[in-house]
Subunit: 355 residues, 2 copies
């Protein structure tokens, strides 16, 4: 049985250590931080006394008030952790951020802004915030954070006043993929879209849902596809996961051959993988009976989708850029929004439609 808290008498403070060591608090502080000159002898004595008293070093809470910095960067995800992290792209971006902010002694605080709850965003000791492809549903919370003077960086978000964005040419890349299919001769295509917000359920892409949509990435990718296939429809999913792709795939493919699309534009590789799995279940060959394209360029475990035609986005680099932006804003340096471009990668999941 463990009862860690309270089992010990009140923790000693720096002042207590200083007193016991016969020095002033400021000297003791220097002994720990090394921020000023202290004789070796004094430092040793302070450290020895600290060890004896079981002092664990300066309290980070007090330090962060005094310094005005907590060393914490909030990573805001608009989803549960399991959903958000199911997609390797999010993980890669997170890793990219940590890559840059970590060495600067910043850690990442996970903030999932799901519907309803009072936002931890408002009472966590944050130095800065990174928004992961957040929808406009968060505008209010964002406003409050901004009022605090906390730097905000967004990744693929609708341009927002005072928020620095690390963007992605979703329209251009999606258009490229669509054009690729068009060039191959496909005329009956469908889109399998990421979540569109503000509600979440798998169903057909309708004008209403598009008009009400709050998820920037998804809307932009749809826009790109529609530049080539005006008004193209399909299915809205609840997010980037193979299971969702499979559900959408079944919906689109389990119909008479004459109505079946000859190509599907999935808005993520995970969705594409699911679509391919569904096609396989239904006995349709890819790319013989159906061409499929994805988006992201992640490595997929399913061998049927291993060589997917897609666009590769520089996820880690985007994360790093976000991290650098955070550090620059924190340092009061000027920074500009950036847009990344994804690269088309031809795979083995697209071909001409069967005639």
């Amino acid at each position: 049985m463990i009862r860690q808290e309270g089992a010990v008498a009140a923790r000693p403070t720096l002042a207590a250590v200083a007193r016991a060591a016969g020095v002033s608090a400021s000297t003791a502080s220097l002994a720990f931080s090394g921020a000023g000159p202290v004789s070796d002898e004094t430092r040793a004595r302070v450290l020895a006394v600290a060890a004896e008293l079981g002092y664990g070093g300066p309290d980070p809470r007090a330090r962060s008030l005094r310094r005005g910095r907590s060393g914490i960067v909030g990573a805001v995800l608009e989803d549960t952790l399991s959903n958000a992290f199911r997609d390797p792209v999010n993980i890669a971006m997170l890793d990219g951020i940590a890559d840059v902010t970590g060495p600067a002694d910043n850690s990442l605080l996970l903030l999932t802004e799901t519907e309803g709850e009072t936002s931890r965003l408002l009472d966590a000791p944050l130095d800065a915030v990174v928004l992961f492809g957040c929808s406009t549903r968060l505008d209010e919370s964002v406003a409050v954070v901004r009022r605090r003077g906390i730097p905000i960086v967004s990744i693929e978000a609708q341009p927002l006043e005072g928020v620095l964005d690390i963007g992605e040419d979703n329209v251009g890349a999606s258009r490229l993929l669509a054009q690729h299919l068009h060039d191959l001769g496909h005329r009956r295509v469908a889109v399998v879209a990421l979540e569109l917000g503000p509600t979440r359920w798998l169903g057909p892409i309708t004008d209403e849902r598009v008009a009400a949509g709050t998820a920037f990435t998804s809307l932009e990718r749809l826009r790109g596809a529609r530049l080539v296939y005006p008004g193209v429809g399909g299915v809205v999913t609840t997010g980037s996961a193979t299971s969702e792709g499979a559900r959408a795939g079944r919906l689109l493919l389990d119909v008479p051959a004459a109505e079946r699309p000859t190509a599907i534009i999935a808005q993520s590789d995970l969705l594409a993988s699911g679509v391919i799995a569904a096609a396989d279940e239904l006995g349709l060959s890819v790319p013989g009976d159906l061409s499929v394209v994805g988006y992201d360029g992640v490595r997929l475990d399913d061998p049927r989708a291993a060589n997917l035609t897609t666009v590769v986005q520089p996820a880690v680099e985007k994360g790093r850029a976000a991290g650098r932006a955070v550090l620059a804003l924190l340092a009061g340096e000027p920074v500009e929004s950036t847009t990344f471009t994804s690269v088309f990668r031809a795979g083995a999941t697209t071909g001409p439609p069967r005639v």
Copy 2:
């Protein structure tokens, strides 16, 4: 171009708001926190003045010093984020923790304790810490944290003085899997192990590496297998990933048939999936030519591994238990370590050895 910091004059404080509203700081504080009686009129005035001055609410840094709580729980991973989160088990556990601590207004701070760096563990404003299957390499850092009086909960870690552990019967479950293979008649088996620490490289399981091993989970699972197959060897990987499983699989399987194991005990489902992919590449059928078992019970995208023989561990439940333990320790309540048991799930990847 964005220059958020410094562009604005010093942020107003609660005291400034109070002054402007003609009330005392304590009253203004109450107006925001709602922790005491304030007349509606006064509250309204304070809030109005705050809005006018652009005051964004009480500073969490000051609040956490004053209250002695930051609302932050550290999640310590001994790996990069991309590696740690590639495994759905870790994500599920994280989600389980957040599930419990979130409603109590706590957020998770990601701490990756990789070799070398000075530990953010020591200067982050943490209320508590959860160790994710951390090896004994962290003992020092843990000691420092403990000295601070911060509650520590570990998930599948070597029993540690003063640390509450949410355990897993790794030995028992591994033994079950091994016994299953033994019952089927397998006598030439190999293990594909998770990282063993302290070094990380893919290579044979040797007595030296086992003796020097620091990763509890991996060692325990090996121990379980060896209860049935004494001294069984195999390959140590660098962690739970299909790519690692595939590498290990090739090493073990790309040999003359007489030396080839008839069954492989992979220490995670992801590793097992990789092993099966490798077998497939080499033209070996599963379970005809090779039986494979995993560990975890996660959903796998690769259809060849979809129906894996494995043990299912209650990952989310373990996370929740860890979260509950954190809250209890924070509240000064006594808590006991718990051990979870995984459940055997027969799949289609095991069968009798070819005679």
